[in-house]
């Protein structure tokens, strides 16, 4: 008997935005403010240039607390992913793909999000993806991804 990846999952969708809430603090808010303006950024050390996600008060490489928020290309590579089949809020059938994306324009920073716009069965590590924008609660906007 072998691997049963003959399962067919069909189209993957980001989780519905109306069930997603986030909160922010002064260290993370610039990321979300930029997302609201449909710009993908990541927290970069303004002194040594190292990227860190999620944003945090100090650079782990040089301990500087100076941050910059460069506009990234909005593309990346699938580093890894899972395929899930139930909406976590209500348990209903819902195919979604949690994905770890290595962000282009950084030194390997990861963003954890959803990948949609294709069949879950077609997702592969190494595939190129581009950012999409999913409005969520309280007028925030969540960066999600689709095949590039």
């Amino acid at each position: 008997m072998t691997d049963n990846r003959n399962i067919s999952y069909g189209p993957a969708n980001a989780l519905p935005g109306d069930q997603i809430a986030i909160t922010t603090n002064p260290d993370t808010e610039p990321f979300w403010e930029k997302a609201k303006a449909r710009t993908l950024t990541a927290c970069q050390c303004a002194d040594c240039g190292h990227f860190r996600m999620p944003p945090s008060p100090y650079c782990p490489e040089c301990q500087s607390s100076n941050k910059s928020w460069p506009e990234l290309p909005g593309t990346g590579t699938v580093f890894s992913f899972a395929i899930c089949t139930r909406n976590p809020k209500n348990g209903e059938d819902y195919v979604y793909v949690p994905v770890v994306v290595e962000l282009d324009g950084t030194d390997g920073a990861h963003l954890v999000s959803n990948l949609g716009g294709c069949d879950a069965d077609d997702v592969e590590i190494g595939m190129k993806v581009a950012v999409d924008w999913n409005p969520i609660k309280d007028d925030w906007v969540l960066p999600v991804f689709r095949p590039a």
Partner: protein, 403 residues
């Protein structure tokens, strides 16, 4: 480098309640179960509860993941006159085995004489561990994880497993073998929740909870309590059973793995690992032993894929070769004398089959193996490894030795 406190302390008592499916322990309370485990551990050690004067918790003194133990409350509940040591390892289940090292710290500092480590778990509907990530209120840090729908520890581990499959060609057959091998170990265990043979077809027909992991790759969600008593080797001479000497104990980890659970920021090769290599290397340095010297290994198995990655990180096989090692039959008790390099893993059935009490069933089984009283007893069991985690740091490991 040896370890100054090697063999100077020992686990001398173990106690456990029955194991229940999630939520089924009600109307017992969590303190009722914790008390039973502690009292049984004292009886097993041959000491009075009034002799207990130390607490070495892990999981941030958690009783499950939402309740907390309180030392004063346990003292009042059980009639413990005084304590000189009350401390915990931080974070979660990663510290399960390492709590014996914390107890050693208390004993070697002469803060206490008999130290309890306890875990009790009661997963009433509002306290369910499997979806703990998704059920948490949003905060600035988890806002970078929770929206992805990685709702519980197994979902996070599935993403690590996928990377391992990509890098090393690991296949689901290996995960299946881990579940089936440890199920085989549970067949003759009366307390095991899952104790019926597991055929291939049943495994392959399970729902995929977080592809590449199916339902049986996720451990049981159970209720119950386990406790153990640690004392000095000198005092252990007066206890009822032969001591299980604490030959090596370590907890901790590296920064890159520390990002694992909440941040997913780690790079290769840490991403597709159990995060245990740092602790494993410390244990081998403390003891001068290697994985192959272990008579058995009780490997924290909240998710099947993490057994495979721990086997690599502890050096039972090379990094990336966990798939072939497991599929050789090397982890089965029945193969211990016939397969080259075999070391039986989770001779009690583990979290996947017996019960999940956040890692203490593994310590209890390691003690039984050292005493020679295990149900699936290894002949001449000299060294037993047990591990905690993999989870947020610290993770931990423990080597017990026969006196």
């Amino acid at each position: 480098m040896g370890w100054a406190h090697q063999d100077k302390t020992a686990i001398v008592g173990i106690g456990a309640t029955d194991y229940y499916l999630r939520g089924k322990s009600w109307p017992r309370t969590i303190n009722d179960m914790a008390g039973e485990a502690i009292l049984k551990a004292c009886a097993d050690a041959g000491i009075s509860i009034k002799d207990v004067d130390g607490f070495a918790y892990y999981s941030t003194a958690g009783a499950g993941y939402l309740d907390k133990f309180d030392t004063a409350s346990l003292m009042e509940t059980l009639g413990i006159p005084h304590v000189g040591f009350s401390a915990t390892l931080t974070s979660g289940g990663g510290g399960a085995s390492g709590a014996a090292g914390l107890a050693t710290a208390g004993l070697m500092n002469e803060d206490c004489k008999y130290c309890v480590t306890v875990m009790a778990l009661q997963q009433l509907p509002q306290h369910r561990l499997g979806v703990v990530v998704g059920a948490a209120a949003p905060n600035p840090e988890n806002s970078f994880l929770q929206p992805s729908g990685l709702v519980g520890p197994g979902y996070l581990m599935s993403v690590l497993a996928r990377r391992h499959m990509h890098l090393y060609g690991t296949r689901r057959e290996a995960f299946k073998e881990i579940v089936q091998a440890t199920r085989e170990h549970a067949l003759n265990r009366p307390k095991a929740i899952r104790n019926k043979p597991l055929e291939d077809e049943e495994y392959w027909s399970q729902p995929m909870l977080a592809d590449p992991l199916c339902r049986l790759d996720f451990c049981l969600e159970t209720d119950g309590a386990v406790a153990f008593i640690t004392t000095t080797t000198e005092r252990a001479k007066d206890c009822k059973h032969p001591p299980a000497l604490i030959h090596g104990a370590a907890h901790g980890g590296t920064r890159n793995w520390g990002r694992a659970f909440a941040w997913m920021g780690m790079q290769d090769p840490d991403f597709a690992s159990s995060g245990h290599k740092f602790v494993a290397d410390r244990l081998w340095e403390q003891t001068g032993l290697t994985a192959k010297d272990m008579s058995c290994a009780q490997i924290y198995d909240h998710f099947s894929c993490m057994v495979l990655m721990q086997l690599e990180d502890y050096g039972f096989c090379e990094k990336g070769e966990g798939n072939d090692y497991v599929l050789s039959g090397a982890i089965r008790y029945a193969n211990r004398d016939t397969v080259e390099g075999a070391v039986p893993v989770n001779t009690h059935g583990g979290n996947l089959n017996e019960a999940y009490i956040i890692g203490l069933t593994h310590v209890a089984e390691a003690v039984e193996q050292i005493r020679g009283t295990a149900i699936n007893q290894i002949e001449d069991c000299e060294f037993a490894l047990s591990t905690g985690g993999p989870a947020s740091l610290p993770v931990s490991g423990l080597i017990l030795r026969r006196a």
